[in-house]
Symmetry: D2
Subunit: 464 residues, 4 copies
């Protein structure tokens, strides 16, 4: 899970890219990086943590130039290690190149092995490095051609931005797994994972980068190329369900609108004899509102979230008790006591948090607790760029709904149906990837290297 942003021919390129990343912070909080190009030289700033903490005035002042790309990353490893941080910047016979990448290549391990056999050396485990090697192996006078050629060899999900000395290139895989949008900002061309970044910059959303499209922004012009590889669309509907910000537009739909509809559909599919509807903040907010409206039950903000929870929270050591989810959420007794409660959340993954929330709500006196989930049961992991546990860890992979209900301790449990969910988005239902709910993977995943992690954990003391 990552957010990417790029801008071309803007005099405040790095500052605007910084703001873009800031708006995309929800797509990754572990690390972030920016690279700008100025008079043929590349300048890079990277760091661990939040965008607002990494980029000081001094850091931004060290990023001159009119072209910049940035990346904010969520890490699966949980460890604070810089060696995989993006943007990756290298020198090649075509000059310096920088790349940021959201997605996952299913044949990366195979490509890497082949490249190593041919004498390439690798410094990271990121798919990004594979793409740069492929380009370097087939250099062209125009880097766009080299990128197009390289992309013939990769399979999987990618939305990427490439910076060279003379252009900024955006590319999206032919399936269109991950979003990537084209915008216009004070005359400059820009790209973003989500439209909320354009809103902050008062940039106009022009359109989605199309499936399999390569867009080259150079000297104020924009050229569009198509990959020769054809593929059926497989847009990630989980972006709508959970991942994208509610104020973004993704794949042509407003995210808040999709979630309201999902909540309403859920209310029709799985009504509950209850008194109030309570969202699990913040992700269940819109689905709960949709549910409340459709069901006619009143919405109550019965769970309060502590927004100061950060990555550094220390669980007291000697304590015999585990504070867990209480640190993040607190129920309001006055609103809940004696009532039959419909709790609405976006999804259940491992099923470890839901029982605690249900118990918390019962502890302040809920008469009944009915859990409603705004998507179908998640039974398989994503291999196209969303970080998820293995199938074994997904509670719905080997439990029936009633078993899950019992495990979470709810009086009733219902998920939105697959059909119901697909009705809430505007594209044809075959145009979405539903692998995590159906196990039907649109791109063969047999070559996926399931070992996560970094090649060499290079740390500096500050990070450790």
């Amino acid at each position: 899970m990552c957010g990417i942003f790029g801008i071309e021919r803007h005099e405040d390129a790095a500052n605007y890219a910084y703001l873009g990343l800031y708006a995309l912070q929800h797509r990754g909080q572990e690390s972030a990086g920016l690279v700008s190009e100025h008079q043929g030289r590349f300048h890079v700033e990277r760091g661990m943590g939040y965008v607002a903490d990494i980029f000081s005035k001094r850091a931004l002042a060290r990023l001159p130039g009119i072209r910049a790309i940035g990346h904010t990353r969520y890490s699966t490893t949980g460890s604070s290690i810089q060696s995989n941080a993006q943007p990756l910047v290298v020198n090649t016979s075509m000059g310096p190149l920088a790349l940021v990448h959201n997605g996952n290549l299913v044949n990366a391990a195979e490509l890497r092995a082949a490249l190593e056999q041919d004498g390439s050396i690798f410094q990271t485990t990121s798919d990004t490095e594979v793409i740069l090697h492929l380009m370097a192996r087939n250099p062209r006078a125009d880097v766009a051609e080299a990128l197009i050629e390289a992309l013939q060899h990769v399979r999987g999900a990618y939305s990427l931005l490439l910076l060279s000395r003379d252009c900024l290139i955006a590319a999206r895989d032919p399936y269109g797994f991950r979003p990537l949008l084209l915008g216009s900002c004070e005359g400059a061309i820009c790209f973003s994972s989500e439209s909320c970044a354009f809103d902050l910059l008062e940039a106009q959303l022009v359109r989605d980068v199309e499936l399999g499209e390569i867009l080259v922004a150079r000297d104020g012009d924009l050229e569009s190329y198509r990959q020769s590889v054809e593929a059926p669309p497989a847009r990630c509907i989980f972006e709508q369900v959970y991942f994208a910000r509610p104020d973004s537009r993704v794949f042509g739909d407003g995210v808040s609108d999709s979630r309201l509809k999902m909540g309403a559909t859920l209310a029709r599919e799985a009504p509950a004899a209850a008194d109030i509807v309570v969202p699990i903040p913040d992700s269940g907010l819109f689905a709960a509102l949709g549910y409340a409206r459709e069901s006619g039950l009143p919405l109550e903000f019965g769970l309060i979230r502590n927004h100061y929870v950060g990555r550094t929270f220390i669980e007291p050591k000697q304590s015999i008790r585990h504070f867990g989810v209480k640190v993040k959420l607190n129920p309001i007794r006055e609103l809940i006591e004696g009532r039959r409660v419909v709790l609405v959340d976006d999804s259940i993954v491992r099923g470890t948090t839901s029982p605690k929330i249900v118990k918390m709500v019962r502890d302040v006196g809920a008469a009944e607790v009915h859990l409603r989930i705004g998507c179908p049961p998640t039974i398989r992991p994503c291999h196209y760029g969303i970080d998820m546990p293995t199938a074994e860890e997904l509670i719905a992979s080997d439990h029936e709904i009633d078993e899950i209900r019992e495990l979470v301790g709810a009086d009733s449990l219902a998920y939105l149906s697959l059909d119901g969910m697909l009705e809430c988005v505007s594209g044809p239902r075959q145009s979405y990837c539903t692998a995590c709910w159906t196990g039907s993977y649109p791109v063969d995943i047999s070559g996926v290297d399931r070992r996560q992690g970094v090649l060499f954990p290079i740390r500096t003391e500050e990070e450790a």
Copy 2:
């Protein structure tokens, strides 16, 4: 504005006090500190920033003992300076004492001058140091007596916790401006500014520390004393309106419940011919829900807040544009476009943010914007512990409502009436301080030193 927490005779005293501060983080994000007592020695950890960032495992391990108090502070100065950080810890003829304090003494300047004339030396400008000097000047075998004696001399708002070698003392001024609650946690006595800290610790809320009461927790016993000074109650209703967390109980009322009522009353007092009700997050959430319910208008989450906004956000330097409130809030066009919108907020202080939000909502196509405020116009600053601008800076101090409406650019503007507000809380209306809305100060403020700030800005390089 501050949050305080203390606990006595708990084997995890510092860890629990840390969690208490964590729940009170919304009452102050500039600095925090903890002190514990172990075998007659005091141990102190302080730092700038968020509670979760300041207290590492190592820091907490350096705080042994069964007694601890903590403080989280909001600073008026905006500068990161440690010299005024609480808890203040000193040695006296009664042994070491530590004090944390929420409030403001109106005669602190006068007392300080008198103490200096008598030869006292001051290292901070905090009221806390004044109280400790008064105690040291009149030492008693029982520190509780020394505190009671000292409090005879101070006037104003205080809720405080004092730690000595053998006890933990809580005291609240006779007016009861600021909240302070007594709780019970696994057999230990604890005190907190708000009940949400008890919820996190699964402690029971026993009762408010009463007006003018001094509670001494020693060896598991609890003794109650009364100040001889009598005063009419003057509880700060702004805690209900804005400051306290919605999941807390303050002065006997649930905060969320008070706000829901305020929103409903506002809807009755100031209805609007509109299509939707949109809360200004997060502070306007409950009032907006109350307004929507009472008015029958649908609630829409039309403004999304970026929860990653931190104190370190850097406004791009060279930029010609000012991003301001856009960094925090983003409107959702689909929900707003073409609609007549009721925007609900908790209060207007300077009036600098509201125009930007109104404009932002208009820019995405609102047909009309009706601004509704969940409290009366704020015309005077607080001198009892809530940090506010001077009267000149308060927009309502010298503007009629219609002028303000024009300045913020709304189609209509209405504030909740004073009577309406007071009906939403359970205490008698004379028992609340309404100074900031009426200018009627319950305690004489003629001696207040309006110069804010620190005596000597002592910095360490890390903070600078």
Copy 3:
């Protein structure tokens, strides 16, 4: 052990005081602080570590004004704690005052107890705070008078600098234990613990601040006052032996010159049948040269010191071996092998390092090792400001010289005689304190509080 520096009416006051501290770094490496006065306000910067690390350009820029004092401290505790860091800055009825202090008051505990009985509160354990309390208790229109009055009550060793809104005052105790020098720098008056700071600033050494003298620098004038307390001089000769920099002048003598004479006298008193003289760097350098010249034996730099040894060196954890002094010193086999070596050091304190050095020299093939020490056996601790172990830890307190020789493993061991040492300095022999060699303390030490340490270890996470 501390170094102090002050300057008055210099437009670069803080910068020059910073450079002064820099030259005095050898007198204390644990922490340092500077305070400047500008238009009646005091500005303070303090930190842990080396002077050059604490004061960045930004830190120095925050210290405006034409008056400044600074302090560099060596701590006995070894822990990195800021609460005792100087300068101590307080507010009094006479306005703000800042004080830096080199020395030790023998009646500090008694004065502190009396002040606490009278209602004073203490935030540190430093003698400095006692002096400020005494001044505050007896305020005068002229702070110099208040200081003179306060100094009537203190006994012991002090060389101090006091900064007020309108002057800089230097004071030295009537015994003159610790050095303090008056200088002139580009027309400004300055004070320093040692003359090497004047050399760096190209300031002229004017004279010693005299015994019991109080010098008030105000508006470019210099007034001299005398304390009414009379006392025999008791200058610390250990400054000459070890503590001061060799390029300083202390008590009227050049330090390098004194050490050369001590080495020569030692050679006359305790010749050795040897081949070469090897200094133990860096402290034994001058004494070794003096010894070599007088004895006619060649000097060899047979021990090399690693100058990168810092306070943060980590002894490898799992290692079965202890690297100890090898980390600092390495012998050169070619220069030592087969030779009879005279090792010259300035002093032996605990006697823990000397055996390791002797062994190290034997291990590279020295035929014989004769240890020569440039002062008499150290049998008692200093109570006048030099940090030393307790008497029990001083190896010479309960061992005869021949026992020590056996413990250190030398073929012979000789110390400089007391008479011999006193002949090497120019003052009358009765004018020096020889307490650490004779146990004859010139100021009664019965009231000394031997418990070292801080009152409350206040830490910030960075320091921990």
Copy 4:
């Protein structure tokens, strides 16, 4: 200029390598790094600054395994940038490889261009990366073979250590420019740039790694290979003159011994009618002692060095005066005044410091100043690994000795002759590189890329 250390089959491998780097700190203070191998995985720790500051206990605990190599670096750029920090660690078809390197390849730019043409991507500008690419392009079952093959293609100076999953390899170029020594430590094989690291670890110096030799340490065995490239020896005599620690043995000679001889030879070649000999500390110490002995003039430590000078020293900003060398050195008037002084230094490079020292010595009253230099005039830069200014910046490149004398302000100036210098070391005179004094470069330098610096300055905020 760099220091390298490696150890194989020692249970404390990383800790010992850390101590080795610690002893080699004088060879580079800008950054340092360590890599260890454990069960096929590599672990890396790197940082900016001093070895003792970078490697905390926690950092060392993150470096498990029985094989480790380390590097300490001096940077030409002066900027604190991590992107070129060694060890460089990569993955190849032969598994992970780590390399540390002291030296400079004269054909690196050419090799890099060719590799880029063949599709390699580069992340640094270091020669190290070129070698790893060459190896990866020609992989072998045994990495030693791949290294030997790769080294056929590089020309210039290198002493390097390579770590793989199963062995530690040391290699030295056929000219033997830079030192590299084989040692034995508690049964483990180790390598070091200088013998002083062995002394600290109580390791035995076995012998020099020979010219063109590749030594493979694997499973406790040691195999020696020879490069097919033959070359005349060209050992860097500047190591003896200045760079190596005086307690090291380099190229079979004790460094202190060489310097004593150079001083003595200089005294014979260039006597001075003077009263005292004063070393410029610390580099001129041994040459000065040699000069003093040979001339019969007394040695005086007339210049004192402040050993607390660090890289962070801040020159006061507003000051009109420049403190420059005074911050590091202070003359002692008592020792110099009225005397004719011979100042002895190891070398003159730019000629910017010497005039200040001569003036400083005159300012304290020297009657005459005769400057003597322990090597010939430096007229050309080194291209084999010692960081030097360009020829234009070398004062002796375009000034006659008498011009230099006038510029530095000395009464006389003399350099050691080339022949004199070569007599002071034990190898045949043709076996040393004298390029910086003669301009006769033993390896063709026409392909040297004189542009210094980094490819992309990748910074983290902490470093900036």
